[in-house]
Amino acid sequence: MTYTAVPGLVETKDAYGETTVIVDTARLLDAARYLRDELGFSFLSDVTATDYLGWGDQAVAGYIGTAAGRDLNRPGSHGLAHRPARKPKRFSMSYHLLALRAGATRVRLQTFVDDGEPVESVIPIWPTADWHEREVWDLMGVNIVNHPNRVRILMDEDWEGHPLRKDYPIGGEPVRFSGEE
């Protein structure tokens, strides 16, 4: 399965047995249509948004856990703490696709967006994306356009803010002596 002909392709990553196809946000619908019609990914499993605000700010000190084993002094690290690479924009939208045939091929269609940048809704291609995108809008605030019913789904209709963002506080009440403020 080669993804070289996906419209708007930026990068293809292979890790842990999974393939991630990163495309340009403007050509998301073309890429989605190509994946569904040409490559047979007729099943949209999940639509997720991830907020990378503060990504890489916390240094990972000490031993580094890798797939090959625990490695205190990874070659090339000069003993310094390893930080994850910066992401291009604040949010990433991940569409997890599945092809219903022997082998269960899966792929993650990913695109990076900024706060407020419009993302086309993929409902015309996979109608199941409806509630997933509503949830993404509700909890993350990614600006999904051309959605027929973009209202809050999990929070109250008059709730302000997008709870799953990294700059939204966890809430709740303070617990004494727990070490968590």
């Binding site: 040409e38 499993s45 999940d46 907020d51 856990g65 109608p127 929070m155």
Partner: protein, 430 residues
């Protein structure tokens, strides 16, 4: 254009209707048809969130023309718990208790999907005994979930006695769970690397007793309702969902298989040791409420088969065989060692206070939960806490399909259809 193999439908079987019923771009709301829009006889009624017949806190806003449902809108979010945000604040080890409460009927399924994601990122090797035991408990969970579904679905349709019969077996499963894990529900038994504790002696005998008795119980359930005229009238031909619509709407699990699509992640994307056991994937062709009920019943029998095979394999292990991975950077050392070994003490301290660190990466693991494809998307930045966790809940997607299934349905049918989709509001709202 490459020829793409369509979904593998059982060959030779005709679907009761073909083609899609998805009326417009947004099939998740049933809108009052134009010719009735201004009609004063249309009643808008609110079903829920506190309602005996909606599974949990689901609110359905229905427009009724007499008893015919002409408009439907599902409002969810009454059980939104903020699992994902809360898990971002806890270390990986402490996070494992949270997913269980998402789908509270098949609690160990959610635990497993999260633990599998961690293990994949950490590249941990899980001992075989732990994998077989995980499979056994997972299938027990599947039966548990189907039993509770059956009891409550029949309760809603008026076949009240079934509730007591199914809960009789359900209590036996929870007894087994209590014997192994110490608590009936929400066991926190699966850890990254294997199981939290060894399997107690006496479990195999009790489980074999259950395995021998369960198929007879399933026969008893079918005897009770299968030929009941009222049950047949209330379930046959209702809530039809074609295979194309099911795939387009992202259905999975019993819903998808009842619509004729031969797809089961246990067979098609095997995890744990499902490729080493024999079981049948149960499909039906019509996609109505009756077929979903039948798929659930068949699945219970197949689960018993799988449990029997797991027990046979488990009994081949020696009593002291390892039940968790050997990696002390991730797995807590046994308590006896803490008295003698300094390294064990330090590792214990580090794991409990700071937590183990999971390498940077993103993973999407999926397993076949009793409701369908349960997925867990984990993003790690290499730290001691998850950066992002997302649970793909099959009921969330199944509930979207309510409006599409509701074709000329009465209120009573709506209850039957919403029940047959086997939704658990904990995982819908997360």
């Amino acid at each position: 254009m490459a020829t793409v193999e369509r979904h593998p439908v059982r060959p030779g079987k005709q679907l009761i209707y073909e083609g899609s019923r998805i009326p417009r771009r947004c099939p998740t709301i049933l809108d009052v048809p134009a010719h009735l829009a201004g009609n004063e006889d249309i009643n808008q009624i609110n079903f829920g969130p506190n309602h005996p017949s909606t599974h949990g806190v689901l609110r359905l806003v229905v427009d009724l023309d007499g008893e015919l449902v002409v408009g439907l809108r599902a409002v969810i979010g009454y059980l939104h718990t903020g699992f994902e945000k809360t898990m971002e604040q806890k270390s990986w080890w402490k996070c494992i208790t949270y997913p269980e409460r998402i789908d509270y009927l098949s609690f160990q399924t959610n635990e497993l999907v999260f633990v599998l994601a961690i293990e994949k990122l950490l590249a941990l090797e899980v001992p075989e005994k732990a994998t077989w035991m995980r499979m056994c408990l997972l299938e027990l969970n599947r039966i548990h979930s189907h039993l509770v579904w059956l009891g409550t679905a029949c309760l809603e349709l008026g076949a009240i006695s079934m509730f007591w019969y199914t809960f009789r077996e359900r209590d036996q499963i929870l007894d087994l769970s209590e014997m192994v894990c110490g608590v009936r529900m929400h066991t926190r038994y699966f850890q990254a690397g294997g199981l939290a504790e060894d399997i107690p002696t006496g479990f195999y005998d009790e489980c074999w007793k259950f395995v021998e008795q369960m198929p007879k119980a399933v026969d008893q359930y079918e005897d009770m309702v299968d030929r009941n005229r009222i049950w047949l009238e209330r379930t046959k031909g209702l809530g039809l969902l074609s295979a194309d619509d099911a795939i387009a709407l992202g259905q999975s699990g019993p819903c998808l298989r009842a619509s004729g699509v031969d797809w089961d992640l246990r067979r098609d994307q095997p995890y744990l040791f499902y490729d080493r056991v024999y079981f049948t994937v149960c499909t039906r062709e019509h996609g109505d409420v009756w077929d979903r009920y039948k798929v659930h019943m068949d699945e219970m029998r197949q689960s018993v088969r799988i449990i029997a095979q797991c027990l046979e394999q488990l009994q081949k292990f020696e009593p002291g065989a390892p039940w968790i991975a050997d990696d002390r950077k991730v797995v807590l050392p046994p308590r006896e060692e803490l008295h003698t070994s300094m390294e064990s003490l330090i590792h214990h301290f580090k794991i409990v206070t700071e937590g183990y660190r999971v390498p940077e990466g993103e993973i999407y693991t999926t397993i076949e939960s009793p409701r369908g494809e349960m997925g867990c998307y984990v993003v790690s930045d290499g730290g001691a806490k998850p950066w992002r966790v997302k649970f793909r809940a099959p009921s969330f997607v199944a509930l979207q399909a309510t409006a599409t299934c509701m074709h000329e349905a009465l209120i009573a049918d709506m209850i039957a259809i919403a029940g047959s989709l086997d939704t658990v509001m904990g995982e819908v709202d997360r």
